[in-house]
Symmetry: C2
Subunit: 402 residues, 2 copies
């Protein structure tokens, strides 16, 4: 039987917003409201950065319909931050917690946030201040270790899968003019988001045709040969690339010392990866290429929120409070896949310290040998996370009788 701990709860959001992060917030609040040990529910505005200035609001006294409405509101409703914790900050945070009698601290974010929650928790322990610290995972990057996947990933994947399916149809239709389309996705260090574009593929010839992840060294010559091969077979090509692609020297493709180039029209350019790749395709293969870079639009598209993702985001928020009430502290709630068909996912607990210092790249078994696509094992992993995609028809090439 866990020792009862009466006091206030504070929750904060950190890092890049997602389509479903507010579901976690809703889960935290609605669960907290069930427990009489939790006296007040506070929210930090703009995470730890706001907390340090005592920018705190009362979440327990919001209208219930606003709390419920968080489930369909994208982006971070409390405001987010990217704040590098300084040594003296932990002491200050703890002082503020004491001042507001905060006994439950729930922090929702990526591995930096887990590090923050861990450090504050350790300090409280050393000072004998009873505080239960729990991390709630959130990142479109899906790069947190010790969890099957991260809330936010299913929705960014759904966006990219649909955008790629649609862009594939677009390029197929107008490929007679714009022959190659490149979609640049987010993902500075890992290729999880880019990989999700593979979910668009619904037939052997449909888009995407090539996928490049930062887990593999980018080789320009091989890339051009790959593109030419698809193009000569289909007459068009749709390629997805990660913004974080690097060459054999570990340099980003867009690093300033290499990416000044002249495109087919003689314009000197340096842009993102896709921009650069369009130019080398034009220069070397003499094929017109265009790119789409949805940027942050991909991470918080409310229309593309995956139902599974939204439910799981709620579930991890709820589980953080439930576990804290039962006495847990110093853990991040993880997602544990119980079965894949039917898909079933529950929650587990991982020490914050372990999560804080790890980054999970796309594993080898999810990347094909040629390094230009994902494997069936990846599709099996990712498919349940995004739910149904829109299905399209294709006209049959029925010959005209004369």
């Amino acid at each position: 039987m866990a020792k009862k701990l009466k006091g206030n709860l504070i929750v904060g959001q950190s890092g890049g917003p997602t389509a479903v992060i507010n579901n976690s917030l809703c889960g935290v609040i609605q669960e907290a409201q069930k427990h009489s040990d939790i006296e007040n529910i506070y929210g930090m505005l703009h995470g730890i950065q706001g907390l340090l200035e005592e920018n705190i609001i009362d979440l327990g006294r919001q209208k219930p319909e606003i709390i419920e409405g968080l489930r369909s509101t994208p982006s971070a409703a409390l405001g987010s931050c990217r704040y590098k914790l300084k040594d003296e900050d932990c002491e200050k945070i703890l002082d503020i917690f004491k001042k507001y009698n905060v006994r439950y601290f729930i922090y929702n974010g990526g591995n930096d946030s887990m590090d923050t929650a861990h450090k504050v928790g350790e300090l409280a322990k050393s000072e004998g201040y009873e505080l239960r610290c729990m991390g709630v995972p959130k990142t479109v990057d899906n790069d947190l270790a010790f969890t099957d996947h991260c809330p936010g990933y299913g929705s960014v994947s759904k966006f990219n899968a649909i955008a790629t399916r649609d862009a594939g149809r677009d390029t197929e239709a107008i490929g007679i003019v714009d022959k190659v389309k490149i979609i640049e996705t987010m993902g500075r260090n890992t290729g999880w988001i880019t990989a999700s574009t593979a979910l668009a593929k619904d037939s052997e010839d449909s888009a995407p045709h090539l996928i490049y992840l930062p887990e593999r060294v980018f080789d320009e010559e091989k890339f051009l040969a790959d593109v030419e091969s698809v193009y000569s077979r289909l007459g068009y090509a749709l390629i997805t690339v990660c913004e974080g692609l690097k060459d054999k020297d570990g340099k980003y493709l867009t690093a300033s010392d290499r990416a000044i180039y002249a495109d087919a029209f003689g314009h000197k350019q340096l842009g993102g990866v896709a921009d650069y790749l369009c130019s080398i395709i034009a220069d070397n293969l003499k094929i017109k290429a265009r790119f789409d870079k949805p940027g942050t639009i991909q991470r918080m598209s409310s229309l593309c929120a995956s139902k599974t993702d939204a439910e799981e985001a709620y579930m991890v928020g709820q589980a953080a409070v439930e576990n804290a009430i039962e006495g847990a502290s110093g853990y991040m709630v993880s997602l544990v896949r119980e079965s894949n068909d039917p898909y079933k996912c529950t929650t587990g607990l991982v020490p914050l310290e372990k999560v804080a210092n790890a980054e999970k790249p796309v594993p080898d078994e999810f990347i094909n040998e040629a390094g230009n696509f994902v494997t069936g094992a990846y599709i099996e992993y990712a498919k349940p996370l995004i739910g149904e995609l829109p299905e399209y028809v294709r006209l049959e090439k029925i010959a005209v009788k004369r």
Copy 2:
């Protein structure tokens, strides 16, 4: 009573694909199937360009569920083209029409397509070959004259309105780090698409905060002052710009002779308009700015297809056939707004020749005096075209009681 004309119908799609262009194709086919005068229904693959090579398929013998499925399939199912008609082509097209006994020619596209339909129709007339030529409007650019709006515009507008609303929430949440977000929309010559981002705005302070259309000369100093003003008031800013912005000399902002610049990190860059504007914000205001460029994703997003737009696209396809059966030729079907509240739209007819040579910019009454936003009159015009947008909640800033 129209003179009966028995023979075959051919339909083609041209120009940039849209989310709803296949609704028009479906309308043409399903209407044509009702009339016994129309013996066979043919489709040209990749428009006139494919037709010239006799790339034709039979649409009358497709499975009904495939034809019906066109209503929810984005992009051009027949394949599209951008083909500049040569003088000798009209003769060749007419020969192919004669060979296949084509008596009804329905062409779905923008003003170049209307020009094609017009020229082929005139040639047929001069040769005494009975042919009924009808144009079906289609363009996300919304720049066709003599029609209230163009099928495709409602859906690209819905995409941009939702993306801007979501990006506004994103920037509001993380504006503590990424202070300015610029969204670059399509629109080489007119600002209709950019204007539609204004539909995202649901409160005085919500995004977008500034909108720049190519109908106004872009003034860098004024732009920077505008951005600074919003930023100092709200602490973040979301700006939408048209890819076709030009300076006082009529030069695109990204023309090669001006857009090589060094960004805040000393990288020399030339990219799109948004990329360039991010750099001048960083250089002059010392504020970090990021951009999203959804590119072609905005024009054929099936999830953002507007119901009204899809229905009207079907309606103009259907009306083209109905009118041709009744004897009309040489017209484009237009959309006529009968009333705005409730919104009611019917179809009309405009001579192809008139449409072919006109381009409709965003009119003065739709642009505010400062040239950095749209007017209420524009909102009233555009709102019915996109349908409902997702609504989000906002937490109240309820102070913590201690």
